[in-house]
């Protein structure tokens, strides 16, 4: 059974309406961002306007090389933009606040980068960074996330070098989920995984989304239409560096206050 059926988009909306968070500004507002390949000059992402509101679950599909990853990396401010800017909660992200911004929007890539040592060493790594000076590693919390992914208590002690591809991705996802980000940017996180691991990843993301203590939103790049449907309410396509809002039944940048 793919995903966890207990969280549905409508519930989340109701929650936000109740807390009147939806009157808040968008989480991420990408204003006319574009990116060229610095070597060839080829346009990778054409001027794009994109708003990610609290409660949004976005899926992006499109042929490989169409700019999906470029777009996601641009949202994470990981690559230089050739034009435009990104607002976070209605304010432009300043140079000095980029690490802080990246803390709030977690970026997960197809092939996770796992450090040497144990899974726990990997989970502890973020807490060694300046941006996380105010929080500490919480092993029980990490263990409960691992349990959600169907991994036993010994998972945290596993050697990183012994992890399967699926386990490595689960570890990478727990590494960011324990930090309670507001936004998840997932770049084909399950593209090379077995069905069981994919299911675990989807379950973790669903559970993160269901935790409604703060506004949340996700962008999931996928080449699997069924998964895109499962994991999103708002469907975009990317073709030749142009992001297109599909004629989805609901909320094409609709005013969230309505």
């Amino acid at each position: 059974m793919p995903g966890s059926p207990c969280i549905r988009h409508g519930d989340v909306h109701r929650t936000y309406d109740r807390n009147s968070i939806m009157t808040d500004t968008a989480l991420i507002d990408a204003v006319d961002i574009s990116r060229r390949d610095p070597l060839s000059g080829q346009m990778l992402l054409r001027q794009t306007r994109f708003t990610l509101n609290a409660g949004d679950r976005v899926a992006i599909t499109g042929p490989s090389g169409s700019g999906k990853s470029v777009f996601l990396r641009a949202l994470a401010l990981l690559d230089p933009l050739d034009s435009g800017h990104i607002d976070w909660h209605g304010k432009p992200v300043e140079r000095a606040t980029i690490p802080r911004y990246r803390r709030n929007i977690a970026y997960i890539r197809q092939r996770p980068a796992i450090l040497e040592g144990t899974v726990e060493d990997n989970l502890r790594y973020p807490f060694s960074l300046k941006a996380y000076g105010d929080v500490q590693f919480d092993r029980p919390r990490a263990a409960s996330l691992a349990a959600q992914a169907g991994r036993g208590s010994d998972f945290l002690d596993k050697r990183a070098s012994d992890l399967s591809g699926g386990e490595a991705q689960i570890a990478a996802l727990i590494r960011v989920l324990q930090l309670a980000p507001e936004v998840l940017l997932l770049d084909e996180p399950t593209a090379s995984l077995d069905p069981e691991s994919s299911h675990a990843i989807e379950g973790l993301v669903d559970a993160w989304f269901a935790d409604d203590r703060q506004p949340r939103a996700s962008v999931w790049v996928s080449h699997d239409p069924a998964q895109a449907k499962r994991m999103s309410e708002r469907h975009l396509t990317m073709r030749g560096g142009i992001l297109d809002e599909a004629a989805a039944p609901r909320h094409v940048n609709e005013d969230p206050a309505q």
């Binding site: 990981l78 990246r102 890539r109 973020p126 300046k130 996380y132 930090l179």
Partner: protein, 269 residues
């Protein structure tokens, strides 16, 4: 005790020893013969040339002759320092020259003016060989440092990316590769210091002894030189790695991986 003068014939006999290297290359199919021949020719031509230049400079003994020569030596070392590694980036040459220049001149100044206290300040008999020795070793450190930095950043690109995505500052993301790079640049000097006098008798010391200097004095000079070399190559390596870091990481905490290009591709453009 006087120095046994060598004729050009004596030198030619020694040059025949390069045939040993050639034989090894042919026997093991190393495909190094052309490189060997070229290196041997360069050794002969460069050393003969510097012999004449030095003879002329020593005779002249003026700052406006010594200083340009020192600058030329530094620039050549700087260019050579940027020639290593499979990958390069725009500005590597400038970084190499800057780090070699700053570190070796700073340390040479300490050696010449504080330790040896030469007079006049440009005394070529001291200034040129000492700067030369410092340059040679600093060049090794700098080129190894830059090479290792670009290699590590290429190999660990995913890790650098992951760290930045998590919210690491550019330095937090770069520090592991930078440390490896500085280490790589400093190790040859450290190795050299560990075996000096036991396995290897350094050329300068040997030269002084051959020239009739007392071994104790020669050893003191060698100790001074070793420390000058160590200081300069450490300083140069750190500078080079930091400059590389600044080129490849932008102030807004991005890793500019596209600036790292393969050397062959870079020379084609």
């Amino acid at each position: 005790m006087s120095l046994q003068n060598l004729s050009l014939w004596d030198v030619a006999i020694a040059a025949l020893l390069i045939v040993v290297n050639g034989a090894v290359s042919v026997a093991l199919k190393l495909d190094l013969e052309r490189k060997l021949a070229w290196a041997a020719v360069r050794t002969v031509v460069q050393l003969l040339a510097i012999g004449y230049v030095l003879g002329w400079v020593f005779q002249f003994d003026r700052w406006f002759v010594v200083l340009p020569l020192m600058i030329a030596m530094t620039l050549i070392a700087g260019f050579a320092g940027a020639q290593r590694g499979a990958r390069t980036y725009a500005g590597q040459r400038v970084d190499s020259i800057a780090s070699i220049w700053i570190s070796s001149w700073l340390v040479a100044a300490v050696g010449l003016f504080v330790v040896i206290r030469i007079r006049p300040w440009y005394e070529p008999q001291y200034a040129i060989p000492i700067l030369g020795m410092i340059l040679g070793n600093t060049l090794t450190g700098v080129s190894l440092g830059i090479e290792r930095m670009t290699e590590e950043l290429t190999a660990r690109r995913d890790h650098v990316d992951m760290a930045l995505a998590l919210g690491a500052t550019r330095w937090e993301a770069a520090q592991a590769p930078a440390r490896q790079a500085v280490r790589a640049g400093m190790i040859p000097t450290l190795n050299q210091m560990a075996v000096v006098g036991i396995v290897s008798l350094p050329g300068m010391m040997t030269g002084q002894v051959l020239a009739g200097q007392s071994p104790l004095q020669a050893v003191r000079y060698q100790i001074v030189i070793m420390f000058l070399i160590a200081a300069s190559s450490a300083l140069g390596t750190v500078l080079a790695v930091l400059l590389t870091y600044r080129r490849l990481f932008s102030a807004d905490h991005r890793f500019l991986a596209s600036r790292l290009v393969e050397r062959a591709a870079a020379s084609r453009r």
